[in-house]
Symmetry: C2
Subunit: 131 residues, 2 copies
DNA sequence: TCCATATTTTTATAAATATGGAAATGAAAT
DNA sequence: ATTTCATTTCCATATTTATAAAAATATGGA
């Protein structure tokens, strides 16, 4: 997966309703769910649901199949796996041990948490704006 | 990691400049890079860089340390690992085998790619808008 | 064909975001 | 104390995004 499509996928998931949609679809498995059911469960207008589903579809994260009058959406697990793979690469390339479980396979749990001096700085602050 | 912070983190990475920033910081490792160097490397105005760095900091994806006149930013690998973990959970909960490598630890590579019928539908289309 | 249902497109509007110039802040050097 | 350098805040502007009402499209049944 290259940067461009990763950004589109990330943007697609970076929204309350869409992330909720995707979670429902993951839960539903390959069988998926019709757009109407999703709209009802999440209590959003049909047009709004269509907008978000289109966004997810364009990002390649969901698949759509027409079944009679309904259109059934399903999570594209392969695409999601590719996204996770991209992030894993871009997270762990230099410091595999620090990424915690979930980033790399939970093989070596013996992370002695030492020997990684940050040059010669002090005063660590986690954020700035709105702490 | 709960949904709210995952969305913030996803949104922070779902942007060209910010993803590029993060990739540079991952490459730089725990030592990090000063804001000025990032601005120069990515050819964006200082004010713009500051804006994006604030966004990443607020999302908890980067750390900042003042070193003399410079402020050094570094990727927060632990936070990134948490994000990847969240996505992995929300991707593979129902269909671990289909997520491909990168989602689950590349243990069982014997995915026979069969037996996952989607109920009883036809006409699979990957997208709609702008295909 | 006509009607009912499911979804999408169109259109408009409000809100959020990205951008960079100019001024302000913080820290070091003279 | 003044100057210099790095970064941030303030401000204005352009773009993108989320939302929903109304109209359009597609499907199935009477």
């Amino acid at each position: 997966m290259e940067m461009k499509s990763a950004i589109v996928a990330l943007g697609a998931l970076a929204q309350d309703t869409r992330l909720a949609i995707f979670r429902l679809l993951v839960e539903a498995g390959p069988a998926g769910l019709p757009a109407g059911a999703l709209a009802e469960q999440l209590a959003v207008a049909p047009a709004t649901m269509s907008f978000h589903l289109a966004q997810l579809a364009q990002a390649g994260l969901v698949t759509s199949i027409r079944d009679g009058r309904s259109i059934i959406y399903a999570a594209d697990f392969e695409a999601m796996g590719a996204l996770v793979g991209y992030l894993t690469e871009n997270c762990c390339r230099s410091q595999p041990e620090q990424c915690g479980p979930g980033c790399l396979p939970p093989a070596r749990t013996t992370i002695t948490s030492a020997a990684k001096g940050a040059s010669s700085h002090e005063k660590v602050s986690r954020s700035r704006r709105g702490q």
